[in-house]
Structure formats: structure tokens, C-alpha cells
């Protein structure tokens, strides 16, 4: 274990902490962490690494999720920490929950008062109130408004202000940048600094490593419930290990031998999308070559999904063009785009859970069937023959993706397998270009490896182009031919994985200013 260089005494000391959910799932497997007084410590890691679990253990809210500490100790200010969430908060360890969770039916003023209930005395409350007013003048203006009417950024400010009202010694922040615009994220970072300057120790859990490393003194990286790396923020931002984790390793040898393909090039030119006054995409251009695997990546909120939605006809472009083999797609309805051979999957699974895998896949081939459903239903000989042909093709595609139990209802399969069924369904429509939206979101490591394998094989065997949207850079680095990186709606890089990984802009976006 790498010891963090400790200059101040630890205010929060976690030793060999083990947590499991529902008595079975091990979420933390012996995490040790020492938070020096007056520091900002960032806890980094991917989804499922155990970041939130660690915070829940610290704030005493594990029982609400059916979780329990099964081993190890948490010491706060030198004493063993109480179990009850309210007692912990009153002791000076206050958490700003993920997703802000302001009391939306209460006014801003009342939200702040609710936070003040945990303050040690009236004087502390008054002092905290003055400070919150100074930090967040906007909250003063909105004092009598219902908190639910505030914008996301304002709600985040309120959530932080509410926690400050309790005069915390240690402030725990759970994903404060999630879903916020870049300017606001920047402001949140500044606020964390200001809070820390007043002597409040901060523990910051973030997926946005750039933001976290820019404000933290120390950082730990969690991976499947264990501490994988730790050190000062600067050390970590520089370290190859973190770069690898966040940026991935490009394939040593490019296997980008061109696949035999009958697909056409997809050309995106100067594409802009605005929602009201907000620019979700501005002036984005890239080209997906026939038969290539093209990745579109970027941190949360970069505009990736928006781009995909324009390509598949769900959103309308404000300006610019998207051409597939000479056909302009921006004016077409989604089903017309699909008819051109452009298929997509969704972030959320959209399959019929009670129906077998085979039937779920066959549905996708209806577009290709000549006999109507009546003939099929009557089991006329021609229809029977046709059905048999389709079924054979479906089985082929399923095998390609490593799907074996085709008779099982989809609902009984594991999450990773269901995602592959969804991919198979998209492929059963025999597309030329496949748009994949975060295919490995929420998957454990083995599952995402299986998915990567399935994507690579289906592209090679079926000769299609793939446009892959993903925020996990490590996933795409090993398989993409070309990568386009978006940040805050703008294209910041475009090139081979190796080129992109060296790009200074990309490093800044993913790892923060230190890089």
C-alpha cells in the first residue's frame, strides 16, 4: 500500500473497511483511507468501483440500501464513529448526497434551515448562514422560492449550502459535477476550494477525474472495492497508471485491416444542435469510413448521445449536415433512416422480457420478410420455408455474438447477456451501419470484455460500419480504428487511438489541468 504523505493528523481514518449488500455482494473488500485534517481528498473510480458505498459507510446510510459494514473500522476525530446517520451528521461529518436531493417542496430558506438543525448551537448557525450567503448570493435572492424550481446548478449550490449550515468538520461530496454544465462544474470546483480554505476537510467522490484532481490534495482510485492507487493529486494526474485507467491503451499493432464492406461512408459536417439557448453540439465534423469501427467519446455531458440522436433522426439538427452515401439524413424520420440500413441500440434495454431470445430476434427480421404475418400465422408452405430461412440466419448471428440459449426468455438472462441480445437484434435487421449507444454501461469487467469481443467479431464477419458512443475511454481504445473526442459539445480531437491519447486537449478534458 502506498502511504499518502501525511502532514496533518488524520481527522477521518478508515481502516480495512469491508461492506456487503444483502449479506452477499461484497462492495468494499478492505479499504483503508486516511483523510488529513484540512485537506481535500478525491475518491475516483468507475461505476461499481465502490465509491458511493464508501461514502454511505462514512455517513451511516448503508442500512437504507440493505448494506452493512462487515469488518474494519471508521474513526472520526479520533473516536469510533456512531452507526446512526443523524448522529454522524450532528457529530460534524456531513454529506451532500448524489443527485443533490434538495427538499424540492421546501423553500430555499427552509432547506437551509433544515441543514442548520444539525448545527451545534445558534451562534454556529448564524455564522454558517452568513457564510452561505457570501458563498452563494443566488440563494439569498431565491430564498422564498421552492427549491424544486431552481436550476440544476442552483440546486447543487443549495445542497452544498444546506450541508454547510451544519458547520461540518468534514464535508462529503458525492458526484457534485454530475449532469452539470461545464461552467457550473468549474464553479463547484471553486466552491470546494473556498470551503476548504475555511478549514473544512473535504472528501470528494467523482467520476469526473479532471475536476476532482484539479481541486484535490490527495486522491485514491478505487477498483472493484479495493484501493488500486493513491497519492497526491498531482502525482496521480501525471501517473501512467491513471492515464491508462482513464484513457486506455491503444492496440499495439493496428488490426485495422480494412474489412470487406458494402457500407457507405457516413459524413457528419459542421453539425450543430441547440436546445433553447443551450448549445449541445457546435460545429462537429467527422467521417465514419465504410467497414470501420469509429468511436465517439467524451466525458458525461459532452454531447455524444445528442449526436447519436441526430444521426438516427430522433433530434433535429440546428445546422450542418449528415450524409449517408449521398443521402441527407437530417430531414428524415427515424424509420426512414432505419430503412436505409442504419440501425441503433439504446442505452436502456428495450426487449420483451417474457419472450424467448429467438422470438425477440425474429421480430427484427420482419422488415425483411416477404410473406405477411397472416401467411406466417396460417403456416402456409411458402411462409414456413421463409421462416426457416430467417431462423437459420438469426441463429448464425446469435452464434457470432456468443449467444447460445435461444429458447430462454430474455428476462431470465444476465444484464450483460441481455445487452448482447439487444445488439444481436439490431444486427438481425441486416444494417450497413450500426450505431451503438454506451454498450457497456453498468457492466462488470467480464461482461464488457464479452461485449467487446461480440462487437469486433460482428463487424469483421458482417462487414458493417460501427459508430460506438462511449464515455469509458479504456473500452474503445483497444478496438476502435478511429476516435472522435467531444467535450462540452465541441470536437476536441479526431484521429487514431494513439494520436488521440497523446492529445493535450484530451488529457486536459479527462485528467484536468495538471496534465
Amino acid at each position: 500500500m502506498v502511504e499518502v504523505a501525511v502532514t496533518a493528523p488524520a481527522v477521518l481514518d478508515v481502516h480495512d473497511l469491508r461492506v456487503s449488500y444483502a449479506g452477499a455482494v461484497q462492495a468494499l473488500r478492505g479499504v483503508s483511507l486516511s483523510v488529513p485534517e484540512g485537506s481535500v481528498v478525491a475518491v475516483l473510480g468507475n461505476n461499481g468501483a465502490g465509491k458511493s458505498t464508501l461514502l454511505r459507510a462514512l455517513s451511516g446510510t448503508l442500512p437504507a440500501q440493505n448494506g452493512a459494514v462487515t469488518g474494519g473500522t471508521i474513526a472520526f476525530a479520533g473516536r469510533e464513529q456512531p452507526r446512526d446517520a443523524a448522529a454522524i451528521a450532528r457529530g460534524g461529518l456531513v454529506q451532500v448526497p448524489e443527485g443533490r436531493r434538495v427538499f424540492s417542496n421546501l423553500t430555499v430558506e427552509e432547506n437551509l434551515r433544515a441543514g442548520g438543525l444539525a448545527a451545534p448551537d445558534k451562534a454556529a448557525r448564524a455564522e454558517a448562514r452568513a457564510w452561505v450567503d457570501e458563498l452563494f448570493p443566488i440563494l439569498r435572492e431565491r430564498a422564498t422560492q421552492r427549491a424544486g424550481l431552481l436550476s440544476g446548478g442552483e440546486q447543487q449550490m443549495l445542497a452544498i449550502g444546506r450541508a454547510l449550515m451544519a458547520s461540518p468538520k468534514v464535508l462529503l461530496l458525492d458526484e457534485p459535477s454530475l449532469g452539470l454544465a461545464p461552467k457550473i462544474v468549474e464553479r463547484v470546483g471553486e466552491v470546494i476550494r473556498e470551503i476548504n480554505d475555511r478549514g473544512v476537510t473535504v472528501v470528494l467522490v467523482e467520476q469526473n477525474a479532471a475536476m476532482a484532481l484539479s481541486v484535490a490534495d490527495h486522491a485514491v482510485v478505487l477498483e472493484v472495492g479495493e484501493v488500486a492507487l493513491q497519492g497526491t493529486a498531482d502525482e496521480l494526474a501525471e501517473s501512467e497508471a491513471v492515464k491508462e485507467r482513464y484513457l486506455g491503451v491503444p492496440r499495439a499493432t493496428s488490426t485495422a485491416e480494412r474489412v470487406e464492406s458494402h457500407a457507405q461512408p457516413l459524413e457528419v459536417e459542421a453539425l450543430s444542435v441547440r436546445f433553447g439557448g443551450l448549445a449541445a453540439l457546435s460545429d462537429v465534423s467527422f467521417t465514419v469510413e465504410p467497414g470501420s469501427l469509429h468511436a465517439l467519446i467524451g466525458p458525461n455531458g459532452a454531447g455524444k448521445s445528442t449526436c447519436l440522436n441526430v444521426l438516427s433522426g430522433v433530434y433535429e439538427a440546428t445546422a450542418g449536415s449528415v450524409r449517408y452515401g449521398g443521402r441527407e439524413l437530417t430531414k428524415l424520420r427515424p424509420h426512414r433512416i432505419a430503412a436505409l440500413g442504419v440501425a441503433r441500440t439504446f442505452q436502456n434495454i428495450a426487449l420483451s422480457p417474457r419472450v424467448s431470445v429467438l422470438d425477440n430476434l425474429l421480430v427484427a427480421r420482419h422488415r425483411l420478410m416477404r410473406s405477411g404475418f397472416l401467411a406466417d400465422g396460417l403456416r402456409l408452405p411458402a411462409a414456413r420455408r421463409e421462416r426457416a430461412e430467417h431462423e437459420a440466419r438469426v441463429r448464425e448471428i446469435a452464434e457470432l455474438l456468443g449467444l447460445t440459449e435461444l429458447e430462454r426468455p430474455v428476462g431470465t438472462l444476465s444484464y450483460g447477456t441481455r445487452k448482447r441480445v439487444e445488439l444481436a437484434r439490431a444486427l438481425c435487421a441486416e444494417p450497413e451501419l450500426l450505431l451503438l449507444d454506451e454498450p457497456v454501461a453498468g457492466m462488470v469487467r467480464d461482461e464488457s470484455a464479452a461485449m467487446a469481443e461480440a462487437i469486433t467479431r460482428s463487424r469483421a464477419e458482417l462487414g458493417i460500419s460501427v459508430l460506438l458512443v462511449e464515455h469509458d475511454m479504456t473500452f474503445v481504445m483497444g478496438m476502435a480504428d478511429r476516435v472522435t473526442v467531444l467535450d462540452f459539445g465541441k470536437r476536441i480531437a479526431d484521429g487514431t487511438p494513439a494520436e488521440v491519447q497523446r492529445d493535450a486537449e484530451v488529457l486536459r478534458a479527462y485528467l484536468g489541468g495538471a496534465a
Binding site: S59, A64, V94, R101, N105, L106, A114, L117
Partner: protein, 296 residues
């Protein structure tokens, strides 16, 4: 016309009493997400204690003891039964309180038997004349007490730390506990308040023009269920309005029974539920209820 006004005023005063009981119902629901069917028997308990003690202690001390007893009983239900299964689903908790209600009501009505216990209120069967309408003084007192309590309740909810804690906990318990709000205390306070409100309701429901405390008084709290549903389960304001509506409807249907006899006799008991169903057909989450609630 005169009859209508008399009935309307009588109904509003009766409704004011229902409002108090319904308010207790809503408070418990907001704080702990329990549909508390035991409210009826707690009401009976409060009234029973007052009726039994007023001769030896005097009326006001007896009322104090009755309120305390009902509040304590209510808190006990929460602490002993509800707290350990706080995260159980709505149905389980509701049935649990129904069980408590049956036990407590059976025991109390066994003790009361066929007796009619006088509640011993100082206003007895006095009558007050309001703008030419004669109303039982106890009902006027009930109306004033209800108005004061509802206003006080509203102010406490709105302005005190306790009220803020209660509303925060009602909205998002987990976050509230992260803010240092002790959920168990908030819950206990809500239950205590509901018990005390039930006892006040019981006191007035058994005062003149009712005869006194009988075994069947607990059933009267049933009238508050349409009031609560009608108002929307989680809305204190809705409970108050719902209570008033139910009071007026039941008195009007009883008063116009002759004119409404084509609908069948004995309509008074059914009408509140009919009104409730009508409202729910149009607004499935009640007049003032939060919409999410229908999805619970």
C-alpha cells in the same frame, strides 16, 4: 332555506372535528408513510380516559390525561410495532395498524359495554345562537378549537424547526438523516400528535349532541377515512377541507333523507364514501394530494 343553513352550519362544525382526526392521519402518513387505521381506537381511548376520569380529577385535568394517554398509545404503536419494520410496504404497515385497531377497540368496547359514559364537558347541552341558528355550544367550541389547532399546526409546520424537520423527513427521509434530522424522533412526534388530535376529536365527537362515550365511537373515525382520501393522503390542507366536506355531506344527506329517499334510506352513512369515489374518479390522487402517490 333556514333548514339548509342550519344543516350547513351543523355540518361544518361536525366537519371541523373530522378535520382534526384527519389531520392526525395525514401527519402520520407524511412522517412515516403509514396509513394508520388505529386512529379510530386511539380516539376511543382518549375519549374513554376522559369519561372515566372527569369525575375524580375534574374535566380539564381529565382532558390532559386523556390527550397524554392517546398520544402515548399512538407513540407506542410506532415504537413497538412500526419502527422495526419501517421499510415494509404500505400494505403490510396498514394491515398491522388495522390489527392494532381491532385489538384496542375490542378491549375498550368490552370495557364500555353497552354503557353510555358521559364525557363531563362543562358546556353540557348548552346551545348557542349564531345569526338566528341554534347550534350546540360544544360544536361551537369544537369549531374554535379546530380552527386554533389547524392554524397552530400550520404555523408550526411552516415556521418551527420541528416543522422543517418533519417536512424534510416527509420528503426525503434519507437525505434528512444526512442533515442530522433524527427520523425516529420525527416519527414519534408525528404519532404523538396524531394521538392527541384523535383524543381531541374523540372529546368533541362524544360531547353533546352525541350522548357520550360508547363502544361504537371508534367507528366514527372511519368517517375520517373518506375525508383523508378525498383531501389527498399527504396534504394537511386537504385533510382539513376533506373533513369539512364529509361533515357537510353527511349532515345534509341525513337532513334531506326524506327528499332523497328515492336513493334509499340511511344514506347518511354511505354519502361520504360516495363523494369520495366521485372525487377520486375525477382526481385520482385526491383534491390536494401529490401525484406520485397514486403510483405508490
Amino acid at each position: 332555506m333556514n333548514q339548509f343553513v342550519t344543516l350547513l352550519v351543523g355540518g361544518l362544525f361536525l366537519g371541523a372535528i373530522y378535520s382534526l382526526v384527519a389531520l392526525g392521519f395525514v401527519t402520520v402518513f407524511k412522517a412515516t408513510h403509514v396509513i394508520n387505521f388505529a386512529q379510530g381506537s386511539v380516539l376511543l381511548l382518549g375519549a374513554y380516559v376522559i369519561a372515566r376520569l372527569h369525575e375524580s380529577l375534574g374535566f380539564w385535568p381529565a382532558v390532559a390525561v386523556g390527550l397524554l394517554a392517546a398520544a402515548a398509545c399512538s407513540v407506542l404503536i410506532d415504537v413497538v410495532l412500526i419502527r422495526r419494520i419501517r421499510r415494509a410496504d404500505l400494505g403490510t404497515l396498514a394491515i398491522l395498524t388495522l390489527g392494532v385497531d381491532i385489538l384496542l377497540a375490542t378491549e375498550l368496547s368490552r370495557r364500555i359495554g353497552t354503557d353510555v359514559l358521559n364525557i363531563g364537558a362543562p358546556w353540557g347541552n348548552h346551545v348557542t345562537e349564531l345569526f338566528g341558528i341554534r347550534v350546540a355550544t360544544s360544536r361551537v367550541v369544537a369549531g374554535c378549537v379546530a380552527a386554533v389547532l389547524v392554524a397552530g399546526f400550520w404555523a408550526a409546520f411552516k415556521f418551527t424547526d420541528w416543522g422543517i424537520a418533519m417536512r424534510s423527513a416527509a420528503e426525503d427521509g434519507e437525505t434528512a438523516s444526512l442533515m442530522g434530522i433524527r427520523l425516529n424522533r420525527v416519527a414519534a412526534a408525528a404519532w404523538a400528535l396524531a394521538g392527541a388530535l384523535a383524543a381531541v376529536g374523540g372529546l368533541f365527537l362524544t360531547s353533546f349532541p352525541a350522548a357520550g362515550v360508547t363502544g361504537g365511537v371508534g367507528v366514527l373515525a372511519l368517517a375520517c377515512i373518506p375525508a383523508v382520501v378525498l383531501g389527498g393522503f399527504d396534504s394537511p390542507g386537504g385533510a382539513v377541507i376533506g373533513g369539512l366536506i364529509i361533515g357537510v355531506v353527511s349532515v345534509l344527506t341525513a337532513g334531506y333523507q326524506e327528499e332523497l329517499s328515492f336513493l334509499g334510506r340511511g344514506l347518511g352513512g354511505v354519502a361520504p364514501f360516495a363523494v369520495m369515489l366521485l372525487v377520486l374518479l375525477i382526481r385520482p390522487s385526491g383534491l390536494f394530494g401529490t401525484r406520485e402517490l397514486t403510483r405508490v
